[in-house]
C-alpha cells in the first residue's frame, strides 16, 4: 500500500523543484508550500496524526494547486488520505476559482473525484473554501471550510475554524450518508515564532450527523469526538 504520507511528500516535493522564478518580471512564477496543520490529536487516550497541507506554483492569475489532508492512526493505519490537484484562476481581488481532481486513497474503497470550488478571503477576513465533488461513481458531495485569525498579540493568534461536509447520496461502504455528514470545529492557539513557523495547541470537535451518524453507530464507531491537538503550522 502506498503511504499517504509518501504521496503528500511527493506532491509537495514536486512544487519545490519547479522552475526557478525570474525575479524582474511582474509575471514571475513563485512556489508556495504551506503545512497548515501537522498535529497529533489525542482523544480518549488514542492518538492520531493529522495533516492538512497545500501549495501552489504559478503567477498572480494562474496557479497549479496541490492540497492534501489525512489522518493516520497511532499504529500506522490510514483512516483518511486525500490529494487534490487543481488549476486555480484569480477571478477577483480576493478569490480564486479552482477546478481539478481529487483522489481519496483512504477510506476504502478509494475514489477519484472531479472538483470545482472557490477559495479566498471573504469579507471580515474569513479564509473560506467551498468545493463540490463528483466521484467516478457519480456521487456528489461538497465541503465548506472557514477559518479566522483572531490576533491576541502580534504573534499570538487564536484561530477558530469550521468544516462541514455534505453528500447528495449515501455511500454506505465509505460510511457516508445523504445530507450533512459531519461538522468539525477547531480552536487553535498558535505562536508565530516567525511568520513561517508557528507551533500551536488547541481543540478539535467532530460530530457526525444524520444518516452518516447512523452508519457510524451501526459500525460501532464514535459519532462525536473531542480531541486535544498539538502541532505545527509552517510555510515556505
Amino acid at each position: 500500500m502506498i503511504s499517504a504520507r509518501t504521496i503528500a511528500i511527493v506532491a509537495l516535493g514536486a512544487l519545490l523543484f519547479a522552475p526557478a522564478a525570474a525575479a524582474e518580471t511582474d509575471a514571475m512564477i513563485l512556489t508556495f508550500v504551506e503545512v497548515e496543520r501537522l498535529e497529533a490529536r489525542v482523544k480518549d487516550g488514542k492518538e492520531t496524526l493529522n495533516w492538512e497541507a497545500q501549495g501552489w506554483i504559478g503567477e498572480d492569475y494562474n496557479k497549479l494547486w496541490i492540497k492534501t489532508e489525512g489522518e493516520q492512526q497511532a499504529g500506522g493505519k490510514l483512516e483518511k488520505a486525500e490529494v487534490q490537484v487543481l488549476y486555480s484562476r484569480l477571478v477577483s481581488d480576493f478569490f480564486d476559482v479552482q477546478a481539478g481532481v481529487r483522489h481519496d486513497f483512504d477510506p476504502h474503497p478509494s475514489r477519484t473525484f472531479g472538483v470545482i470550488g472557490v477559495q479566498g478571503l471573504a469579507p471580515h477576513f474569513f479564509e473560506a473554501n467551498a468545493a463540490a465533488f463528483v466521484s467516478d461513481h457519480g456521487e456528489v458531495s461538497a465541503r465548506f471550510e472557514a477559518e479566522y485569525d483572531l490576533l491576541l498579540t502580534q504573534r499570538l493568534v487564536l484561530q477558530p475554524s469550521a468544516e462541514i461536509n455534505v453528500a447528495a447520496q449515501s455511500v454506505r461502504e465509505r460510511g457516508v450518508g445523504a445530507g450533512v455528514n459531519d461538522v468539525e470545529l477547531g480552536l487553535r492557539l498558535r505562536y508565530e515564532i516567525r511568520r513561517e513557523f508557528a507551533p500551536y495547541v488547541g481543540l478539535s470537535w467532530e460530530r457526525k450527523l444524520g444518516r452518516t451518524d447512523d452508519l457510524a453507530r451501526d459500525a460501532g464507531e464514535d459519532v462525536e469526538t473531542l480531541s486535544f491537538v498539538v502541532g505545527l503550522r509552517m510555510w515556505f
Binding site: D26, D60, L90, S92, D93, H124, F125
Partner: protein, 555 residues
C-alpha cells in the same frame, strides 16, 4: 558598539575615480564607475551588499551644467546591471533602463554612457535592474550650474537617505506575495480592540472594525515592508553621519531619498529649513519646519545654525517603524538629542477613497483599458469615481480626513506641494492638448500593482506625440501613496501655481487622491514611467511611454 563598514562613505565622499578630466577642457569629463559586491554592517553583522566603485552609496558624481560627460560603467557582478541617471534629461538610449533604453550591461562588460548635462541641481543615479537598487546600487549626482546659484550658502552637503534590509529583496517580494501583511507587526489585535472600546465605545469600535473588515484592509498598512535600518549616506543611526559647520554659516543640505520603499518625514529640531530646490529645480525659497520626502524625490534646503552646538537631522519613516539620523555639529564627535519616534499613523476611510468597491479590475483582464490613454474623450465612465475627494485641496496633499496627513513635530510649518513655486515661470505654459487618466490600481492581498488595472506585462505603451502637452491625471484607487516617476521629461506639478508650477521627476500621489501634472512631450524616444516603490514597480506598476515624431503618430 563597533561597526565594521567596509564600503566607507565618509565626510569627504567626493573621492572617486575621475579618470582625468578630458583634455577637451572644463566642459568634458570622463568618469568610471564599477558595479560590484561589498558587505555592509548596520549593527546586525556583515551582510552581502552591492556597491558602486566599492562604495555604498556610490561616489558623488559631481558634474557641471553644459558638460559633455562620458561615463564608463563596468559590471563586476555575475548578473546584468544598469545605471539610470535619475532626473537627468538625457537621450533615451543613455537613460539606462534595460529593455527600454538599452539591453543592459552584461557581466564583465562595460557600457559607456555619453550625454550633455543640460541642467543643474541635485539628482541621483541607481541601478534599474531587478532589485539592485535595494541592495546598494545608488549614489548622488550634484550638477553645478553655469551661472551663479540664486541663494547663498557656505557649506554644501549631500544627505542621501536609504532603507537597508538584511533580507534579500527576492525574499521580501516573495514573502509579500505569500502573505501580504508579512511585515506588518502593528496589526490590530484584541488589545487594540479593547483600547478602542474604552476610548470610543463599543458601538463605534465595532462599526469601525466592520468597515475595515468589509474591505479586507488594514488601517495599519502604511508601509509594505518593515525591518529596515534607515541610513544617511550609508550610515546607520548609531553610526551617526555628521556634517560640520561654524555657527552662523549657511549650510546647504541636499536631501535625496534613495530608498526602495520608504517615505521620510524630515526635520532638524531647533532649525528652520529653507527649501530652495525640489527634484533639482530651484523653487522660490520657502521656510518650513518639516517636510515629507517621497521615495526618489530630492529637496535642497538651507539651514543656518546659530549656536555652537550639535543639531540632529531626523528622518522618521512615514510608518514610524524607525528613523534615519545624522548630525550637524561644529566639531566632530558631537551629538544632539534624538527625539523618540512619534506615534504610528493609521489610515482612515478617507484614504480608502478609491478603494471602495471597485478594485476587481486588477484581475479582470481585458476590460476597460483600450481607450484609457484617450480618456479626455467624452463618454468615459467616470461614475466609479464619485466619492473621490475633489482634486487638489491645495493646502494639503492628502484626502480630507486622511490618516497620513503629516504635522510638524513642533506644530509649525509642514511643506506641501502647493508651497513649491518654480523660481522662474515656465516659458511655454499653456493649457494641455489632452488629458490621460491613469488610475493607480493594485491587488493588496495578492501583492501586485498596476495602472488602469493592468500590469506592465499586460499593457500597451502610452503613446505621446512630440511637441504636444499632455495632462496626466493620477487617480489613486489604492490605500498606498505612490511616488510616480517619469523618465526623460519633466512633470509640471499642478498644485494651483500656474506657470510657476514646479518641475518634478517624481510626484507622490496620496491614497484616495487625484493629482494632475502637465508633461511637455519634448523628448522623442521610449521612456520608463513607474511607481518608484521598488516592489510596486517590480510587480507591475510600470508603463513604457513612447514619444513619437509628429508624422509617425498619424497612423
Amino acid at each position: 558598539m563597533t561597526y565594521a563598514y567596509r564600503a566607507g562613505f565618509g565626510l569627504a565622499a567626493v573621492a572617486f575615480a575621475l579618470a582625468g578630466a578630458a583634455a577637451g577642457g572644463a566642459h568634458a569629463g570622463t568618469y568610471d564607475l564599477a558595479i560590484g559586491k561589498t558587505t555592509i554592517d548596520v549593527g546586525s553583522g556583515p551582510r552581502p551588499a552591492l556597491s558602486i566603485s566599492g562604495q555604498l552609496p556610490g561616489p558623488v558624481l559631481r558634474l557641471k551644467e553644459g558638460e559633455d560627460v562620458t561615463i564608463n560603467v563596468a559590471n563586476r557582478l555575475d548578473v546584468d546591471t544598469s545605471i539610470h541617471w535619475h532626473g537627468l534629461i538625457v537621450p533615451y538610449t543613455q537613460d539606462g533602463v534595460p529593455g527600454i533604453s538599452f539591453p543592459g550591461i552584461k557581466p564583465g562588460e562595460t557600457f559607456t554612457y555619453r550625454f550633455t548635462v543640460k541642467q543643474s541641481g541635485t539628482y541621483w543615479y541607481h541601478s534599474h535592474s531587478g532589485p539592485q537598487e535595494q541592495e546598494g546600487v545608488y549614489g548622488p549626482i550634484v550638477v553645478e550650474p553655469k551661472g551663479r546659484e540664486p541663494f547663498k550658502f557656505d557649506r554644501d552637503y549631500v544627505v542621501m537617505l536609504s532603507d537597508w534590509t538584511d533580507e534579500k529583496p527576492e525574499t521580501v517580494l516573495s514573502n509579500l506575495k505569500k502573505q501580504s501583511d508579512y511585515y506588518n507587526y502593528s496589526r490590530r489585535t484584541l488589545g487594540t480592540f479593547l483600547d478602542d472600546v474604552s476610548r470610543k465605545g463599543l458601538g463605534a469600535t465595532v462599526r469601525d472594525r466592520m468597515d475595515w473588515g468589509e474591505m479586507r484592509m488594514a488601517p495599519t498598512d502604511i508601509a509594505d515592508v518593515t525591518g529596515y535600518t534607515f541610513l544617511v549616506n550609508g550610515r546607520s543611526p548609531a553610526q551617526n553621519w555628521t556634517a560640520l559647520f561654524k555657527p552662523g554659516e549657511r549650510v546647504r543640505l541636499r536631501f535625496i531619498n534613495g530608498s526602495a520603499m520608504t517615505y521620510f518625514d524630515l526635520r532638524i529640531p531647533g532649525l528652520k529649513m529653507l527649501v530652495v530646490q525640489a527634484d533639482g529645480n530651484n523653487v522660490q525659497p520657502v521656510p518650513v519646519d518639516e517636510l515629507r520626502i517621497a521615495v526618489a524625490e530630492t529637496y535642497d534646503v538651507i539651514v543656518r545654525p546659530g549656536d555652537d552646538r550639535a543639531y540632529s537631522i531626523i528622518a522618521e519613516s512615514m510608518d514610524r517603524t524607525g528613523m534615519a539620523r545624522a548630525t550637524l555639529a561644529p566639531r566632530p564627535g558631537m551629538a544632539a538629542d534624538v527625539p523618540a519616534l512619534r506615534p504610528r499613523p493609521q489610515l482612515t476611510m478617507a484614504d480608502m477613497g478609491g478603494a471602495h468597491g471597485g478594485m476587481d479590475h486588477g484581475a479582470m483582464g481585458s476590460q476597460g483599458m483600450a481607450g484609457m490613454d484617450h480618456s479626455s474623450m467624452p463618454g468615459m465612465d467616470h461614475s466609479r469615481m464619485t466619492g473621490m475627494p475633489a482634486a487638489a485641496t491645495a493646502r494639503s496633499d492628502y484626502a480630507p480626513g486622511s490618516g497620513l496627513e503629516p504635522k510638524a513635530a513642533n506644530g509649525g510649518k509642514f511643506l506641501v506641494y502647493a508651497d513649491l513655486k518654480a523660481m522662474k515661470p515656465w516659458r511655454d505654459y499653456r493649457a494641455p492638448d489632452r488629458e490621460i487618466e491613469l488610475r493607480l490600481t493594485g491587488n493588496m492581498e495578492r501583492y501586485f500593482w498596476s495602472i488602469n488595472g493592468r500590469k506592465y506585462s499586460e499593457a500597451e505603451p502610452i503613446r505621446l506625440r512630440y511637441g504636444e502637452r499632455v495632462r496626466l491625471k493620477f487617480v489613486n484607487e489604492t490605500m498606498m501613496a505612490h511616488p510616480m516617476h517619469l523618465h526623460g521629461m519633466w512633470m509640471q506639478l499642478d498644485a494651483g501655481n500656474g506657470r510657476f508650477s514646479p518641475l518634478k521627476h517624481v510626484v507622490s500621489v496620496a491614497p484616495g487622491k487625484t493629482l494632475t501634472v502637465d508633461v511637455p512631450a519634448d523628448a522623442i524616444g521610449e521612456w520608463a514611467f513607474h511607481c518608484h516603490l521598488m516592489y510596486h514597480m517590480a510587480t507591475g506598476m510600470f508603463r513604457k511611454v513612447i514619444v513619437e515624431p509628429r508624422s509617425a503618430a498619424v497612423n
